[in-house]
């Protein structure tokens, strides 16, 4: 559709908003499970990280153009779990140590601020683009 070409910038920023939302969900998961010692796959929860990649779109003339961002994968951290001495814990091993997730809540908070700011920046891009189009439409007035 020809009208859709006007809204290319919307698609780019919209894809970024979706990506940031996925990042926010991963961070929320990390904070929620910061002291989870049991997971379906066994062992403590492992910190999640989203990996972004650019989206390529094929143009009519065969060339490829970047058209936004998407979540390529949600990777689980391979870092060793935090071992805390707590013999009373039901999941403590024979030596009295409990394996806690490798999640640092302060650093998750920093990531969360980054995600929220990136979301805001993309919202601002949408707002400005809309303002530009509206100003252009006002030419005819």
């Amino acid at each position: 559709m020809s009208l859709n070409r006007i809204f290319g910038s919307f698609d780019v920023s919209g894809s970024a908003l979706s990506a940031e939302q996925a990042r926010m969900k991963a961070i929320a998961d990390n904070i929620a499970n910061a002291s989870t010692t049991r997971t379906p796959e066994g062992g403590p929860y492992r910190r999640q990280r989203v990996v972004f990649e650019t989206v390529l779109r094929e143009c009519a003339d065969g060339t490829k153009q970047t058209a936004g961002v998407r979540v390529a994968a949600v990777r689980k951290s391979d870092a060793p779990p935090l071992r805390v001495f707590d013999p009373d814990h039901p999941d403590a091993d024979a030596t009295g140590f409990v394996a806690y997730p490798d999640v640092s809540v302060p650093s998750e908070m920093i990531d969360m601020i980054a995600a929220a700011r990136a979301y805001e920046a993309n919202l601002e891009a949408i707002k400005n683009f809309k303002g530009m189009v509206n100003k252009a439409l006002a030419i005819a007035r």
Binding site: M1, S2, N134, L137
Partner: protein, 115 residues
């Protein structure tokens, strides 16, 4: 020929039945029959272009409505996608209405001409 074209353009905007729109929320004057439009639009002409534009704007409105429906029924969780669909619908409708205003202005200008 110019006047006929402008008139045809106006008819393309005003009297065309908008098939996709629900009757209650339809465009004003969208219930007329296409036969009232007089001469059939020339293929590849400006009237046909306008006709396609009306279709696209209508599609955008329907897409925005569907996005709201999806959000309300829980099929989607991204509020921003709904808002983007709304903004696209709004901008494309404004573009169409500006085009229509320009056509009406041109038509009136010509009708006011002293002969």
């Amino acid at each position: 020929m110019g006047i006929a074209r402008i008139g045809g353009g106006l008819q393309a905007i005003g009297t065309r039945p908008a098939a996709g729109l629900p009757p209650a929320g339809g465009l004003p004057g969208a219930t007329g029959s296409p036969a009232a439009g007089g001469a059939a639009p020339k293929p590849g002409g400006f009237v046909e272009l306008l006709d396609k534009m009306v279709d696209e704007v209508n599609d955008k409105q329907l897409a925005a409505e569907q996005a709201v429906r999806d959000l309300a029924s829980g099929r989607t969780e991204s509020v921003h996608d709904v808002m983007i669909a709304e903004a696209e619908a709004e901008i494309s409708f404004r573009l169409l209405s500006q085009t229509r205003n320009k056509l009406v202005d041109a038509y009136k200008e010509i009708m006011r001409m002293q002969i």
